[in-house]
């Protein structure tokens, strides 16, 4: 494995140590280690079946790892539930964008906010606090919707949104949790170029003002190259390259991973 030229500091925000998982006979992630610095933008690329989404499932706690350790802000998160991971400020978006079709767009967003007294069943007994919170949440949600151009759908069921719009909603929703780190799973695929530009602006703004760390899975390498400070390349469940964006173009391993290696001796 080629070690990165990116500097490693003592306290990374996310530290993944030699994690593996297998389902049945398949091992989508095999001994992956890397760490992510605070307020950076890193992309993970790799061909289909490289284990990228499986890796996200492990980090976000949706699936449990078989071996290894994952630390977030210095605390282990590999043995806690997905919702607890999210509560600590590490949220994700979904490949193909999961929206709750039978909630309105704004409800999808409002649901994401942490610490809502209305979430707690007993919050029902304190209607004024709940109301106040929900009003401010709604304002915030509307702001976010405006940012991504979805405000006109605010009160429609999310089920009516197009694939691209769903991705925007998914991302906005993740941001509503006020995270310190976001895992983005192919957020740009199927989104039209002007909106991609818009999204990138939003992300840049968030990084600057909110100090949010991003980890991205993306197929559109052009976008990846433009926005990433660091690129991790995965293939067959392992990291095969890790470094500055430009370095991977010349990496024979990476090209092989994408186009397939030539037959030995061929």
């Amino acid at each position: 494995m080629e070690q990165s030229t990116v500097k490693q500091s003592a306290a990374p925000i996310l530290d993944v140590r030699d994690i593996s998982v297998s389902f049945g006979g398949v091992k989508p992630v095999r001994g992956v280690s890397f760490s992510i610095e605070k307020n950076t933008f890193t992309s993970i690329i790799g061909p289909n079946g490289a284990g990228k989404t499986s890796l996200f499932n492990l980090i976000s706690g949706a699936n449990k790892i078989d071996s290894g350790e994952i630390y977030f802000k210095g605390d282990p998160i590999h043995s806690i539930h997905a919702y607890q991971v999210a509560q600590r400020g590490l949220v994700r978006t979904f490949q193909g964008a999961k929206v709750i079709r039978r909630l309105t767009v704004v409800e999808n967003l409002m649901m994401a906010v942490q610490g809502n007294p209305g979430d707690n069943l007993w919050g029902f007994l304190n209607p004024s606090a709940r109301k106040r919170f929900e009003i401010s949440t709604r304002e915030e949600a509307m702001l976010r919707l405006e940012q991504v151009g979805l405000s006109k759908f605010a009160n429609d069921f999310a089920g009516i949104l197009s694939g691209g719009q769903r991705k925007l909603l998914d991302l906005s929703r993740a941001l509503m949790t006020s995270p310190s780190m976001v895992l983005l799973d192919e957020p740009f695929a199927g989104v039209n170029p002007t909106l991609v530009e818009k999204l990138l602006e939003v992300i840049a703004d968030l990084r600057k003002n909110n100090e949010i760390t991003f980890l991205l899975i993306e197929h559109d390498l052009e976008t990846v190259m433009n926005i990433s400070e660091r690129v991790i390349v995965m293939a067959e469940g392992k990291i095969i390259a890790d470094g500055l964006p430009n370095s991977i173009y010349d990496n024979e391993l990476v090209i092989d991973a994408y186009l397939g290696s030539r037959r030995k001796g061929a």
Binding site: A62, A82, Y83, A86, V91, R102, F124
Partner: protein, 326 residues
């Protein structure tokens, strides 16, 4: 026809509709909001009713504390059921919940030293020698009857007093429930109905939310049990067969699973269907013997259920996609 228009029976039917309405309200929260298919709901009613009867008769508790204990016991039953089996997927949970209700019924049936067993609550061993538990409520019911008498005269009945108690409570509970369903708590639950991963990824403990819904729904089942116990003044294990749960479901489906406000009308509709079929004795049905008419009645209820699900699965007030997207 003359018998049909007498109000007395319909007062009873409406009272029962109200009780079934409260019962179905529990299912509404569980399924309509949280997507949990509880087919053992009748068990909660049994737990609550029997808790009251046993505490009042055997331990001479005040009815009010006993009623509180009954509802709490039903909620606890829901929690127990949920903790044990709520992690199962939909149909598995449904089957497990039926089993839960049946176990409850068999335990009641066989623990005759406590519950009166097969003999019903009248047989609960008690210091006074008589197994009634409604004395304290009856004081109130009779007070209401006294107030109603000047208006309705001889038509005044205990059922009428019950009716005037049950329905305000049903409306109150519908109101509370509809308020509850406007909270973000319910929003999260509605999300879990479609997808567990999304709310979990947003920091929501899906299991806790779902368990809460099950417990609240079970508490409503318990409240229905309180009214049931007061209405019948006597409980027997055969009252809590699994078909009762299906009646609750029928009301819920009639209303449209997500439409809490439709419940009241659906309950009346169901009560009418159930009561009116007892009057099927006009020609040509009158040519049938009374057992044959009794068969016809059950058949018709089954037929309505099937037709409803085939022709209008969204119920009277619901949207079709609610049922389609299970």
């Amino acid at each position: 026809m003359e018998a049909f228009i007498q109000p007395g029976f319909w007062v009873f039917v409406l009272t029962m509709a109200g009780i079934y309405g409260i019962f179905a309200l529990g299912l509404q929260i569980q399924y309509g909001v949280a997507g949990v298919m509880n087919f053992g709901h009748v068990g909660m009613m049994a737990i609550s009713g029997y808790t009251i009867a046993v505490l009042v008769i055997k331990y001479e508790w005040s009815f009010w504390w006993a009623a509180l204990a009954g509802v709490s016991a039903a909620a606890l039953g829901g929690a127990l059921l949920g903790l044990a089996t709520l992690r199962l997927s939909g149909d598995y949970f449904a089957i497990a919940s039926i089993a839960f209700a049946e176990i409850t019924r068999y335990l009641i049936l066989n623990a005759d030293g406590v519950t009166g067993g097969t003999q019903g609550t009248l047989a609960i061993p008690n210091p006074k020698g008589f197994g009634g538990y409604t004395d304290q409520v009856d004081v109130i019911l009779y007070w209401i009857m006294d107030r109603l008498y000047p208006i309705f005269g001889d038509e005044t009945s205990r059922d009428m007093a019950m009716l005037s108690v049950v329905w305000p409570f049903l409306f109150l509970f519908i109101w509370i429930s509809s308020r509850l369903q406007k909270t973000s708590w319910a929003t999260v639950l509605r999300a879990t109905r479609e997808d567990d991963d999304v709310p979990a990824s947003l920091g929501k403990n899906v299991f806790r939310f779902r368990l809460q819904a099950l417990v609240i729904g079970s508490a409503f089942g318990g409240i229905a049990g309180v009214f049931w116990a007061v209405q019948f003044m006597l409980l027997a294990p055969e009252d809590f067969l699994r078909i009762v749960t299906f009646y609750g479901w029928m009301i819920l489906i009639l209303a449209g699973a997500t439409k809490v406000k439709g419940l009241a009308i659906a309950a009346i509709f169901f009560g009418f269907l159930y009561g009116a079929t007892r009057f099927l004795d006009f020609w040509p049905i009158s040519e049938l013997s009374s057992p044959e008419r009794a068969y016809l009645r059950i058949f018709l209820i089954g037929l309505v259920l099937v037709l409803l699900m085939v022709k209008r699965p969204q119920g009277l007030f619901g949207k079709r996609e609610e049922m389609v997207l299970e």
